[in-house]
Symmetry: C2
Subunit: 179 residues, 2 copies
DNA sequence: TCCGTCATGTAAATGGTTACATGATTCG
DNA sequence: CGAATCATGTAACCATTTACATGACGGA
């Protein structure tokens, strides 16, 4: 983030939240100690900020070089954790309606996410036109868009199946009663 | 996992790896202390295993009830972390070819994942036919399939864009030389 | 003057992996 | 008999969040 512009720790967090918040996040408890460590190691330098006690950090040459080397390293796939899927895996221990609620709730979140991606892409294209980073920023948004669309599709498919299961269960109860 | 059958800590890990490994994982360093804690709290009980010193854990009634209550709680969305996207975000600091390599590498991993999902779904449907959990297990695999397909699509789109960028850069170099 | 935001930081707790140590059993 | 696998466990370390404490500054 400091490669884009010099910032305080506080601004850093806002910048992270508003630009890469969809796929990365950091808390103050991470940011401040890390800035100190980076300063100690000469990767960033601290200057007096506008107000008393505040500091503005900027990337040093050494830091920029280090960033470049880090960017070149292929990231290894991380272990995913998805609590909804974990619960769904044990779905037969729960009435289908309960599961439907959870999937539906998740779907609502995804739809909100999706509209956010699309709005942000439109806004960025205007506000940041000509900036060298723009194509890459749009790529990350597009990733979110495609991913979210696929997951919404999955929710719809899954909800339909769960509903069919619930209907089947009701029918068998009906048969039991009429038999 | 113990709701499916009684297991040792070692088997537990294998079971996790082979069934929900796509969206969850646990290490021995987590498993063994957790089993002790669960036994202390009465959620699981330990019996003598087949070999000396080994224990087979099973879920108690209290544990099954607790599991049921946990299943009902809606999971809150977790903060995602995607290192590839993080690097892509700062893509203008790197030659496009370097980025292409990374995206292509990721794509290879995704393709392998996808074939695994499809193979597993076919195998499960046969081997576990009639089991009450089967529909839910297939749902989690279907999630992986749709998600992975979307991400492969994104990779293709992104690779095309990166290539176009690289071509554009080469052209402008060519112009500089011929001018 | 008081509230909201800007701003920095630390301590405690949590969650999780990795490395290490140890030993039983099985199979070729 | 040696290697692979089954099996349990602990200690160190790393990453991360949350809660807390503190205070500056600007504007209503």
């Amino acid at each position: 983030m400091l490669s884009l512009r010099a910032m305080s720790g506080y601004e850093l967090r806002q910048a992270i939240e508003s630009s890469i918040g969809n796929f990365w996040s950091e808390s103050f408890g991470q940011i401040y100690p890390t800035l100190k460590r980076l300063e100690r190691d000469g990767f960033v330098s601290a200057d007096e900020g506008g107000r008393a006690g505040s500091k503005v950090y900027s990337l040093t040459e050494s830091g920029r070089e280090r960033l470049g080397r880090w960017l070149e390293v292929m990231p290894q796939p991380q272990v995913p954790r998805n609590e909804l899927l974990l619960k769904l895996f044990f779905g037969n221990l729960l009435p289908p309606e309960r599961l439907s609620e959870q999937v539906a709730g998740w779907r609502r979140g995804l739809v909100a996410e999706l509209t956010l991606y699309q709005a942000r892409a439109a806004e960025l294209s205007k506000r940041m036109a000509g900036r060298p980073g723009l194509p890459f920023w749009l790529m990350t948004l597009r990733h979110g868009e495609l991913r979210t669309k696929a997951l919404i599709e999955w929710c719809d498919e899954t909800l339909a199946q769960l509903e069919a299961m619930a209907r089947l269960k009701d029918e068998s109860v009906f048969e039991e009663v009429t038999r």
